[in-house]
Symmetry: C2
Subunit: 195 residues, 2 copies
Amino acid sequence: MIIEKINNKYKVILGSGSLRRKELLQKMLLKFDIKICNDREIFPHEINKNLIPEYLAKQKANQISLQLKNNFLLITADTIVLQNDYILHKPKNSFEAMMHLKKISNNTNHVITGVCIKSKEKEITFSCSTKVFFSQLEKDEIDTYVNNNNPYDKSGSYGIQDWIGHIGVKKIHGSYNNVVGLPTHLIYQKLKLFI
Amino acid sequence: MIIEKINNKYKVILGSGSLRRKELLQKMLLKFDIKICNDREIFPHEINKNLIPEYLAKQKANQISLQLKNNFLLITADTIVLQNDYILHKPKNSFEAMMHLKKISNNTNHVITGVCIKSKEKEITFSCSTKVFFSQLEKDEIDTYVNNNNPYDKSGSYGIQDWIGHIGVKKIHGSYNNVVGLPTHLIYQKLKLFI
């Protein structure tokens, strides 16, 4: 079993403070510790936006791996939400969150998660994109969500696993877990390269 | 707010013993009680397979509503998994579960959930189909899943929210919650017709 082999061979580290990413790796049955990278996320302005998550995942991996011992296997990730080549960042305040949700309403967006898996010998980066189709969101629905949930730690101001996702997401094309925070299926495939 | 209006106007009843359906309705913020229908699920053999879940949801609603008071709003559902027009039922034993997962491996299947929403005045039935794309599942992965999880209460012998879903589902086309057990987005839209 791949997961058992990884758990036996490595000290797996998740380089992310996201509770959702922690839960997803746990559901894969990986055993791991958490190390958080607090550096600012900086990327070159000329970069193709689809490549930003991979770029930032790799940057986080390079920072955190400096502190790790020989047998580590580090997993880092970064997620962005794109709508018409425009990045919907984590909102700074409720006004910005409501603006994002108005843009997302009755429209599609792409959630791209970049992942870096790094050991002492090897480093692999990849990303996964999921298209999310939202129905029309009414003002009172947007207000309810922003006032009663926490959109501030979420790219695009929404969690697909939150109330707004349950009532507002019509369908997706791609991986659901990728929207939550990690493309678990792809990570599982790539872990095979480390055993 | 639609959900508040429904909670105020009706005594909502979920006519299903499924823990997953209970969790999904809770996440929509509906308040409800549970009543279970223990009748056998019988449908005419000549029926189009895509219509079976709606047919059974309606049948359950008709049974349970006999016991309910005036201001009830009853929600019942039924889910089937179809592969090439062949129904993958809930497995009777581990052998059948393993057979299903071999069929599902490296292939697609359709999960169809039929829903009936019924008050004293009105009854609406509808269904939702999601296409699920599985990667190749190895024998040891299938064995691990069947031996350590509970595929026996699940059409198609898998839960997308289980370990096998996290490592084996490449992507979906449609609603994720529909695969878990209820098309929450569609239910939300249809609830508007009851206020």
